[in-house]
């Protein structure tokens, strides 16, 4: 489903990713762990196609498509979803409007019929119940005045509504209380199916107690230095990144 080969990417002329390889099969959940500055967020942005994150070498293949040839919104329509570490506030744009615009834009891009208002409303009602998002939050401008936890829950609500093939969660656990963490994890787990994969980027093992990954990768200095099963996360927690990174090198 996702095949990243020898990926080199730079930001502002500085190379951050230095030959990263990553293969994900359909339905798998992979976790990427690594120290600050290893390139975790850069990987997320490169996959999503953010301007200024330049791929200088290597390839990204996603469901048979060359991801590098698509722009940001085309990648989203193709099924790449990024849950932001710091979700943006968009003043004046009601959350509901934003969600509906996004859902229908993606459907349109995929040549599907747009969702009518009642079915959309039903969809969001159902999802918001699941993520404990109150109605009044949906009426407010997107993320404006939301607490850190509310913003993160809104990110997974968007994910659930858009049903991406690949959900990338960029440190979604940072700044989350334990209840919100559980809600977020439930959302990801609910989406888990042979058609839906997730790439969970995190600094701590904590989230992986709730979202149990199939594969854990250690990212250090722009490369995946070690991969393993979920026990690798525990190992990291115990010995720290340095030991693993040095060990691997």
């Amino acid at each position: 489903m996702l095949e990243v080969r020898n990926l080199h990417a730079s930001v502002g002329g500085t190379e951050i990713l230095k030959g990263l390889n990553l293969t994900m099969k359909p339905g798998e959940v992979h976790a990427i762990m690594g120290p600050n500055g290893a390139g975790k967020s850069t990987l997320a942005y490169v996959l999503a196609g953010r301007d200024g994150y330049d791929v200088t070498e290597g390839s990204i293949s996603f469901c048979g498509q060359d991801l590098c040839k698509l722009n940001v919104d085309e990648r989203a329509a193709a099924g790449v979803f990024l849950a932001f570490q710091y979700p943006l506030e968009i003043p004046g744009v009601p959350t509901m409007t934003f969600l509906r615009t996004a859902v229908n834009a993606q459907r349109k891009a995929r040549g599907e019929k747009e969702m009518d208002a009642p079915s959309f409303l039903r969809l969001i009602r159902e999802k918001s119940k699941m993520f404990k998002v109150e109605d009044k939050m949906l009426k407010r401008p997107l993320n404006v005045g939301f607490s850190g936890g509310e913003k993160k829950r809104m990110e997974v609500l968007q994910m659930a509504a858009l049903e991406p093939k690949l959900a990338i969660l960029d440190e979604t656990d940072s700044g989350l209380d334990i209840d919100s963490l559980r809600i977020v994890a439930e959302g990801v787990n609910a989406l888990r199916s042979p058609d839906h994969s997730a790439l969970v980027i995190t600094h701590y093992q904590r989230l992986l107690d709730y979202i149990v990954p199939d594969v854990v990768h250690v990212l250090a200095d722009g490369r995946i230095v070690k991969s393993g099963d979920k026990t690798l996360a525990l190992e990291l927690e115990e010995h720290g990144y340095e030991a693993i990174a040095t060990d691997a090198a």
Partner: protein, 485 residues
């Protein structure tokens, strides 16, 4: 979720049709001789069979105009206008023989309306909106008069009001915007062609939104509309004004005057969506729009609310104002001004606080893109008697790209110590982060910009009546086409 929000996604639908209303109707018109003179004024007045005092009033305005100079203080530039090289009156030929029903209307006209999306018959049945359609200066069809007449509401072309209710027009015309108020108001007073006259009697709440679709069609014809609305004690009305215009190359001058008289406990809500031809991407052609709009809150507790969405015209010069004379009277100004390509807009308001406990609110959202220039110019003035007057002004500018300009020129004058005036202004751009976030959700760049800009304008959009809000949101998207990427 409001209906307005649900309609936002319709934005994409219209993203393709550049200037949707860019076509020219071929219809024979009867013109006044080219140029401006006493004779032109007499011709117009005679053509409309006006009473003698009206002709005198026009001639007086003309004399004053000759003494005046074109204002140069707005932050706009345009080639010098040769006022002698324009026609000041044009009417569809069929005017002498006014149609009694839609069947008698020139089919060419009706087809024009259809292209504009205002099929009158359907509108009569479905929309419940009375339409006083102005086509090249002469009002052709007025609907819903009977329903309005039941409540004693007068809604008709001002030319007609001059025949049927001359005493009413004489009593109020020019009392809010005097003939010599400014260069363009004087010009309008001398040669105004037609416009709407509305009278809401004491205690009447106008049963429907009153709407006029203005349209400029004839080449080289200045359009000089005159609107007069009077709300008697305790009356209420909501008036909608919207414009589209055919695409052509010559610059066309438009100088309208709108006067609102609001008596004790009365309220007028005046909404405008202005979508006149802005000129092409190289700044050629387009309408010059020099408008004087003013409301006079004459009685206590009177209220006026101006809401405008300005996306059209090559040059806009417009300051809908409120004179808050009555105690406790309230003035509001909500504005969105979008300029793209080579458009220039110098717009804002004046809040003149004269009475006690008067309050006003100004929310202005300016969006500049392309090589355009957008200026907010506003005056808040609290006179000596205006004890406890309150004003709040929020003036935000959004720049799209680095070749446009956004300017804010507020004037604040306070002569009473119990007054509280607050003014805030900000300038920003659409952040790269916001755009990335929105696009990551699958929304393409132009739609993302339209979405974010509509969010920026939301406080103003919310003030518009439903059907106008929907149109306005689409206009935002259309106006900003080609401004990104």
């Amino acid at each position: 979720m409001s209906q307005v929000d649900e309609k936002v996604e319709d934005l994409q639908d219209n993203a393709g049709d550049k200037y949707k209303y860019g076509f020219v109707t071929d219809i024979e018109t009867e013109k006044a001789p080219k140029g401006l003179s006493r004779e032109t004024v007499r011709f117009i007045s005679a053509k409309k069979n006006e009473p003698e005092w009206m002709l005198e009033w026009r001639l007086e305005a003309f004399e004053r105009w000759l003494q005046m100079e074109e204002p140069t203080w707005p932050k706009v530039t345009y080639p010098e206008i040769d006022f002698q090289d324009a026609y000041y009156y044009a009417a569809p030929k069929s005017n002498d023989d006014r149609p009694k029903s839609l069947d008698e209307v020139d089919p060419e006209l009706l087809r024009t309306y259809e292209k504009l999306g205002i099929p009158l018959i359907e509108q009569q049945m479905l929309a419940g909106v009375a339409v006083d359609a102005v086509f090249d200066s002469v009002s052709v069809v007025t609907t819903f008069k009977e329903r309005l007449a039941e409540d004693g509401v007068i809604f008709c072309p001002i030319s007609e009001a001059l025949q049927s209710h001359p005493e009413l027009v004489r009593k109020y015309l020019g009392t809010v915007v005097p003939q010599s108020d400014n260069f363009y108001a004087a010009l309008n007073s001398a040669v105004f062609s037609d416009g709407s006259c509305v009278y809401i009697p004491k205690g009447v709440r106008c049963p429907m939104e009153l709407s006029t679709y203005f349209r400029i069609n004839e080449a080289e014809t200045g359009q000089f509309e005159r609107t007069l609305i009077i709300a008697e004690e305790g009356a209420y009305c909501s008036y909608l004004e919207g414009c589209t215009a055919p695409q052509r190359d010559e610059n066309q001058l438009h100088a309208a005057v709108v006067e609102l008289v609001i008596l004790k406990d009365a309220e007028i809500k005046y909404s405008t969506v202005q979508n006149w031809y802005p000129g092409n991407a190289d700044g050629e052609g387009g309408i010059y729009n020099f408008v004087t709009k003013r409301a006079d809150c004459r009685g206590d507790n009177a209220k006026v609310s101006w809401t405008q969405v300005e996306t059209g015209s090559a040059v806009t010069w417009k300051y809908p104002s409120c004179i808050l004379r009555g105690d406790n009277s309230v003035g509001e100004f909500y504005s969105i001004a979008i300029t793209n390509n080579h458009q220039q807009a110098d717009t804002g308001t004046k809040m003149i606080h004269l009475g006690k406990n008067t309050s006003s609110r100004i929310i202005s959202k300016g969006i500049s893109a392309g090589k355009s220039q957008s200026t907010y110019r506003g005056l808040v003035s609290a006179h000596k008697r205006a004890a406890n007057a309150r004003n709040y002004t929020q003036c935000d500018s959004l720049l799209i790209g680095d070749t446009c300009g956004a300017h804010t020129v507020p004037y604040i004058e306070v002569n009473n110590p119990s007054v509280m005036i607050e003014h805030e202004a900000t300038t920003s751009k659409i952040s790269e982060e916001q755009l990335f976030y929105t696009r990551q959700r699958g929304i393409d760049e132009e739609a993302a910009v339209a979405l974010i800009v509509n969010g920026f304008c939301r406080e103003v959009m919310q003030q518009l009546p439903m059907e106008f809000a929907v149109e306005a949101q689409k206009l935002v998207a259309i106006s900003l086409e080609g401004s990104v990427g």
